[in-house]
């Protein structure tokens, strides 16, 4: 009996009218957990019932605590007929099960109905008392923390990174059960929602067990997905990276001058300074720290145009592995051995992380991916997970062997996905082959001399690109040159990866989003014939996607891709490929050659002319792009090397000294690199079209940048304004004359137009960058293409203040001078902050309070006046109303007097504030972002994972504004429910937010539509950096605010 769950139903508000006669509702609530149900009293005739129930107590196993969601159902009591359901709230109590996260869930939850959407809100308080359980054979895994974030969470330190964990559970899909024919859509939707909730609970518990087995305490980069296989079942699968995390004791300790340098240094690259360019080893740099910042810099990764996507099922084993590059010398081999031994114990040395602790990533080999086509109706035992487990194992094996071929022992930035159409399913996995530093992979005893020697030899900034495979025995043809940075080791000419740009990578200029888009028609076919057709198409698609990416990359004048994600979607009569990545210019890699066009038939004069015209256009575009993205790599190398140029920067001197030894070789290699031009042969219309499509990609309007990675290289002075959004578009193709070209053009236009729309909509945020742009393509029906985009727009300071440090100093100076004022203001700020999530209590409450305490407004007035000063007009009116209500009076003259009296005070206050009052607009606001951080803020606490699944259905599509109206409302509701859950946990933001699924189906003829959405993220508490110093002492107060709020509302 290891746990007691306690639930209290406080109140409801804005309930729908359930009784037409009285325009009121007689609401009561059922609270269900497992098989136990409690009920509140019926609160008669009210749309804002105050149940104020007793504490309902459930005594349950912790296994159930992990699996089951708390289910709260709001009903309308009906004496004569059956009670009508108003809606439900599912609360995942997992965050309450580990000590560092939330301690209570309390707040207003939207009441959700799968047919009507949100119908009012309910205020609930949930607590869990856990008893210690010493049973070693337990089935639960309470206490293992889960993070969606694909890097080590901000306020933690990775002690050990254990590695890959995966799990998969299968169940019959309620929608396909026989009973579905006789039950209502609502019942069926709810059964599905509940089932998925249960299954994800179970999945999480099982993965937790695996983590405990590995002696870890957390899962980072947790990615859970659903496969709606239809008849054959419903699969929930998850992958993640098991870690042992240590909570950093002082979250505010990023300021310099501290006693524990190693801890400090580790934190810096994560919390403070996402920008690699400004990262320096800091003022207090004992040798140890330097090593931290050095080691990761040395892994040159590599990619070749063909091998990473190589589909051939014959693994290229034996190549590259074992033999260390000559430059690496003995310790490279030593390192290799060590890593190998650390990784060999693991079945799959995979890591779902995309960003790493400094020193973790040594070399990057390139992208590895594998796909396989399966037939779902051939599963012998559909209710058991074995078959799917075997499928995935097969794919992972392939990935592993690809990585080996690249001379790597591990795969980072690993992810898996599926695409299902009828009975055909494409399973895909991809990642980046890499060589890792063994230090984090086992108990940290290895950190001995090896480490240090390694680091001494690894130069700054160029690092991870050096090839991990043997130069003489390359797995694929590629141009190798000496690294442009350290000039000691070999690097490839282009590098593709699925990870984020390492924080210390030396980058020239800015990056940009690069997409390859592709459609291929396929004949409609059944079963095996279909699967064969798809399998045959896949390699061609991969190849073309690659060529496109490569061409576009060159056109941008860049030489590396990060965050590459290639999605292949299968439909009835076509296959779609969409690859997104962020292109950058890595200083360590050679300058990309241009694109040369060669005609096939050089005898035709006009054709020649045409070719040369195009060539000119391409060259112009490259030049323009270089300017746009500020790619002006220092042509220095050749001259600089010999003659020391008096440059003030210490770093560059260091660099030079290292490179001096090897200048001869470099010069030789540089010239070699420059010769390398990319030749595009135009030998048919297809190729022509390719060139055209290259040129049609429009760059974003000025002031806009975009990338699909966490951060944009070259931009570092983010301001705090962020806007996360989801945009969905569906186009219908005209079924006539569908050709590959027409299809490609349609798809290309769809994506381009979507981006244009985004730029237009967000124009008020300029200058800004769209980060983590995530495109998802699906083919819901024959002629429909659906594209879903989720991203976040972040504004940045135009005056690229390179002197971030300077401003920081200035700020602190300012702060010191205004210290007194700050001190005075803080309590006031708190007051305003502690206003409930809805900054304006209902007018009614004011009236009530007014009548009871008309005598005491003096104190209250002080706060309200202050509040009105930083909030806007609206709030000040409300304050005014408040004031007025307190001293009931009439007439206009007196009122104006009040206003006048109030304003000077307010103004005075305003003037005193050194910072603009924008911080106060965050009252009750929950931010959402797909990134793992919030610009200008510091995450102080992780409250647990948010993983929610919703179904919405309508039978009155037209009345709800058509498909657009329906989906718009639904997505807005999903956001609202996520925010409400986060707020109830006491958080103020969701990071690493992702919409994993958005399955939309319509039947306009029947006036029906259905949509399934699955989202996840990490609920966190963040504190603005500007407030940090002031608040740090009073943090506990700040944290419990949401709770107080809950309390206030109830009274």
């Amino acid at each position: 009996m290891p746990g007691k769950l306690k639930v209290k139903i406080v109140a409801g508000r804005h309930l729908p009218v359930m009784d037409r006669a009285s325009d009121l509702t007689d609401a009561f609530v059922e609270v269900k957990f497992g098989n136990t149900t409690f009920k509140t009293d019926v609160y008669l005739k009210s749309l804002n019932p105050q149940w104020n129930s007793e504490w309902f107590k459930f005594e349950v196993d912790d296994e159930d605590l992990q699996d089951e969601p708390l289910q709260i159902t709001v009903l309308d009591h009906d004496t004569y007929s059956a009670n009508d359901a108003i809606g439900k709230v599912y609360i995942d109590i997992d965050p309450l099960l580990y000590s560092e996260a939330a301690t209570v869930i309390s707040g207003w939850f939207p009441i959700y109905d799968t047919i009507h959407g949100i119908r009012g809100e309910i205020n609930v308080i949930v607590k869990v008392d856990l008893f210690n359980d010493l049973n070693r054979f337990r089935q639960s895994s309470c206490g293992v923390k889960f993070f969606c974030t694909t890097s080590i969470p901000k306020c933690y330190r990775a002690v050990i990174i254990h590695g890959f964990v995966e799990e998969l559970v299968v169940n019959e899909d309620p929608e396909y059960q026989w009973i579905d024919r006789i039950r209502t859509p609502r019942a069926s939707n709810e059964a599905r929602q509940r089932l998925i909730s249960l299954m994800s609970g179970e999945l999480q518990r099982k993965i937790g067990l695996k983590v405990l087995e590995m002696r870890g305490n957390a899962v980072v980069g947790y990615l859970q997905c659903f496969d709606l296989e239809g008849e054959s079942g419903l699969v929930v699968r998850a992958i993640g990276t098991a870690c042992t995390l240590d909570k950093l004791s002082s979250p505010a300790a990023f300021l310099p001058a501290c006693n524990s340098p190693s801890k400090e240094m580790k934190e810096i690259p994560f919390n403070e300074d996402p920008n690699p360019n400004t990262h320096s080893s800091g003022p207090s740099t004992p040798l140890k720290n330097q090593t931290y910042s050095f080691s990761p810099s040395k892994s040159y990764s590599r990619q070749s145009s063909s091998s990473d996507t190589d589909l051939s099922l014959t693994p290229k084993t034996g190549m590259g592995s074992g033999s260390a590059g000559k430059e690496g010398g003995p310790f490279k081999a030593l390192l290799r051995q060590q890593t190998q031994s650390a990784l060999e114990q693991r079945e799959f040395p995979f890591f779902t992380l995309t960003a790493f602790p400094p020193g973790f990533l040594v070399h990057v080999g390139g992208v590895v991916s594998a796909r396989s086509v399966k037939l779902l109706d051939r599963i012998h035992n559909p209710d058991e997970p074995e078959t799917r487990d075997a499928w995935w194992a097969e794919i992972r094996q392939e990935i592993k062997s690809h990585a080996k071929a690249l001379g790597c022992h591990a795969v980072v930035g690993y992810s898996e996905s599926t695409s299902i159409c009828e009975e055909v399913c494409i399973l895909s996995a991809s990642g980046t082959a890499a060589v890792l530093n063994p230090r984090f992979l086992q108990d940290g005893t290895v950190e001995g001399c090896l480490e240090q020697r390694l680091e001494e030899n690894l130069p700054v900034g160029c690092g991870f690109c050096h090839i991990p495979y043997d130069e003489l025995n390359m797995p694929f043809p590629a141009h190798l040159t000496y690294c442009y940075n350290c000039r000691k080791q070999k690097v490839p000419d282009v590098l593709f990866t699925t990870i984020d740009l390492p924080t210390d990578a030396a980058v020239v200029g800015k990056g940009c989003l690069i997409q390859a888009r592709l459609c291929r028609l396929k004949k409609k076919a059944q079963a095996e014939a279909n699967a064969t057709a798809i399998s045959n198409l896949l390699p061609f698609m991969e190849y073309e996607v690659h060529t496109q990416l490569m061409n576009k990359l060159k056109l941008k004048g860049m030489n590396a891709l990060f965050g590459l994600r290639i999605q292949i979607t299968v439909g009835e009569n076509m296959l779609m490929g969409l690859a997104s990545a962020t292109g950058v210019y890595l200083a360590a890699l050679p300058t990309p050659g241009g694109i040369q066009i060669a005609g096939k038939t050089p005898n035709d004069g006009s054709y020649e002319q045409h070719i040369s015209h195009m060539q000119k256009k391409i060259n112009d575009t490259i030049a323009k792009n270089k300017e746009l993205y500020e790619i002006n790599p220092p042509e220095i190398s050749e001259e600089v090397i010999g003659s020391p140029i008096p440059e003030p920067r210490q770093r560059s001197r260091l660099l030079r000294s290292q490179s001096e030894s090897s200048d001869e070789v470099i010069e030789l290699d540089l010239s070699h690199g420059k010769k390398d031009a990319f030749v595009l042969e135009i030998d048919d219309t297809d190729a022509m079209e390719d060139v055209h499509s290259l040129l049609t990609d429009v760059p974003p309007p000025s002031g806009f940048y975009s990338c699909n990675t966490e951060i944009m290289p070259g931009i570092n002075n983010w301001t705090s304004e962020i806007q996360m959004f989801t945009s969905v578009r569906v186009i219908r193709l005209s079924s006539l004359n569908l050709t590959n070209q027409a299809l490609n053009k349609n798809f290309n236009d769809l994506c381009e137009n979507l981006l244009k729309s985004l730029y237009f909509k967000l124009r008020s945020m300029i200058p800004c960058c769209l980060c983590h742009v995530n495109f998802t393509v699906s083919l819901p029906e024959d002629e429909l293409i659906q594209v879903t985009v989720t991203a976040v727009a972040i504004t940045f300071d135009k005056n690229q203040a390179l002197q971030t440090i300077k401003t920081h100093v200035e700020k602190s100076l300012q702060r010191a001078s205004t210290d007194n004022e700050e001190l005075l203001q803080f309590p006031l700020e708190l007051c305003s902050d502690s206003l409930p999530p809805h900054p304006f209590p209902p007018a009614k409450e004011h009236l009530e309070s007014a009548s009871s305490n008309s005598g005491i407004p003096a104190a209250q007035r002080a706060t309200s006046v202050d509040y009105s000063s930083f909030a806007d007009r609206c709030s000040s009116w409300i304050e005014l109303i408040k004031l007025k209500a307190q001293t009931i009076r009439r007439g206009s003259i007196k009122t104006t007097v009040t206003v006048e009296k109030a304003s000077p005070v307010a103004e005075g206050n305003f003037r005193n504030r050194s910072a603009p009052p924008c911080a106060n607009s965050t009252v009750g606001v929950v931010k959402m972002t797909p990134l793992s951080f919030i610009p200008g803020a510091k995450i102080t606490k992780y409250l647990g994972i948010i993983n929610m699944f919703f179904i919405r259905e309508t039978t009155s599509l037209r009345e709800e504004g058509g498909v657009s109206g329906f989906l718009h409302a639904f997505i807005a509701e999903v956001f609202a429910m996520v925010r409400a859950h986060v707020a109830a946990l006491g958080g103020n933001a969701v990071v690493s937010y992702i919409m994993k699924q958005c399955v939309f189906m319509e039947n306009p003829n029947k006036n029906q539509a259905q949509c399934l959405i699955n989202v996840s993220g990490d609920a966190v508490v963040f504190v603005r950096e500007s407030d940090l110093e002031v608040i740090s002492t009073q943090q506990p107060t700040a944290n419990c605010q949401p709770l107080c709020t809950g309390g206030e509302v109830t009274t």
Binding site: R13, H14, I118, E121, P701, Q723, M724, F725, T726, S727, V728, V730, I731, R732, L733, S734, L750, N753, K756, S757, L758, Y759, F760, K761, Q786, H838, P839, F840, P842, A843, H846, L847, A871, R873, C874, S875, W877, I878, L880, I881, K884, I888, R890, G891, S892, T895, T896, K927, M928, G961, V963, S964, G965, L967, H968, I971, F975, A976, R979, F1000
Partner: protein, 374 residues
């Protein structure tokens, strides 16, 4: 290729003020797009018409979803579906409840019923405001009216509390509600020169002095209805014109005082302006108070009838404003006259209804001064 579905949902709801205005003004999506194109936005941003169309649709959809909440603004503050910063919420509410001067002049004082709603077509044609916008404005009036009609407490405060409007707009709505409730005639040709502001000013004075709430704010106080008792009592003022002696005395008091003051005034005025009409005009004006007084007192005496309440403004214009205007009284002379006219009643020994007179004339004086312009 057609866009079957096209949506954009932000965690913070995007509000485009220009599109909001177009939506409020009742333009269809295509009209709004056309107007936006004309505004030169395409050139500024390099967007295409298709982008603009999609953007406009998105905003319209958002506004449509918000409209339900705007009908009860406190709901907008408490709802969880749209995350909107407070300043934006205030803007949404304020703009939604804002109205056009031309429209309000058409509807002011009319019963806010289905019948009037049917006339909105005509109003739309006449004013050039789209029918959709007319409907919104009319429904706003009606909604506010319905909510505060039976409520106790200050009218302005009630409106502010339930609709979270700015002080300015709440006062305007108080006037609209007051006029609608008392059905004051404002549409006659004679009244066309008056602005909504003129009426709103009068409404405020009347609410402050002539309603039930004016006497006792603690009582079930309805700012919307005139104090019936007060109207009943106004009959007593009739003695001022019915009693010949009283009338004469009043008249002579006014004339004496006025002559002295006006002479000072006219001399002073002469320094600024050529003494065009001063001396000549005064002679015909002396008997005027008699007629004016009769007019004003008669208006008071009749107010017991609903019909005459409705015609209050017509009467005031006919009985006072027009005669004065035809004699080219400068505003200042009107002020001096009215001040003297109301004040000198206090010196009439035989007159017992001083308070009543002050309650009546105090308001009326303010109104008349406001109404007296071209």
């Amino acid at each position: 290729m057609t866009n079957e579905l096209d949506i954009f949902v932000g965690n913070t709801t995007l509000i485009d003020e220009d599109v909001y205005r177009l939506w409020l003004d009742g333009y269809s999506v295509s009209d709004a797009v056309a107007r936006r194109v004309r505004s030169g936005i395409l050139e500024q941003t390099g967007a295409t018409a298709a982008v603009l169309q999609s953007d406009t649709m998105d905003h319209y959809r958002t506004f449509h979803m918000l409209e339900r909440l705007l009908h009860a603004p406190p709901k907008l503050l408490h709802q969880l579906i749209f995350q909107i910063p407070p300043s934006r919420q205030a803007l949404l509410i304020e703009r939604y409840y804002a109205f056009d001067e031309a429209f309000v002049r058409e509807v002011l004082g009319k019963k806010l019923s289905k019948g009037t709603k049917k006339d909105l077509d005509d109003i739309s044609t006449k004013t050039g405001i789209t029918l959709k916008s007319c409907r919104r404005q009319f429904d706003n009036f009606k909604r506010v009216f319905k909510v505060v009609e039976e409520m106790r407490g200050s009218l302005v405060d009630n409106i502010q509390q339930h609709f979270l409007l700015s002080d300015r707009l709440s006062r305007d709505y108080a006037a609209i509600v007051f006029f609608a409730n008392n059905r004051f005639e404002t549409g006659k040709k004679k009244l066309q020169y008056l602005s909504f502001g003129d009426f709103a000013f009068c409404a405020e004075l009347m609410i402050q002095n002539w309603t039930l709430g004016a006497v006792d704010s603690q009582v079930d106080d309805m700012d919307v209805d005139l104090d019936k008792e007060f109207l009943q009592d106004l009959k007593e003022l009739k003695v001022l014109v019915a009693d010949k002696d009283l009338l004469d005395l009043h008249k002579s008091l006014v004339c004496t005082a006025l002559r002295g003051k006006l002479s000072v005034f006219s001399e002073m005025e002469a320094n600024f302006k050529p003494p065009a009409s001063g001396a000549e005009d005064r002679t015909p004006r002396i008997p005027a108070p008699q007629n004016l007084s009769r007019g004003l007192v008669n208006v008071a005496a009749k107010l017991i009838h609903n019909k005459d309440v409705r015609d209050l403004f017509v009467d005031l214009i006919e009985k006072f404003v027009e005669p004065c205007r035809s004699d080219h009284w400068p505003l200042n002379d009107v002020r001096l006259f009215l001040n003297q006219y109301s004040a000198s009643v206090h010196s009439l020994d035989g007159f017992r209804h001083q308070t009543l007179w002050d309650r009546y004339m105090g308001t009326l004086r303010g109104c008349l001064l406001r109404l007296y312009h071209d």
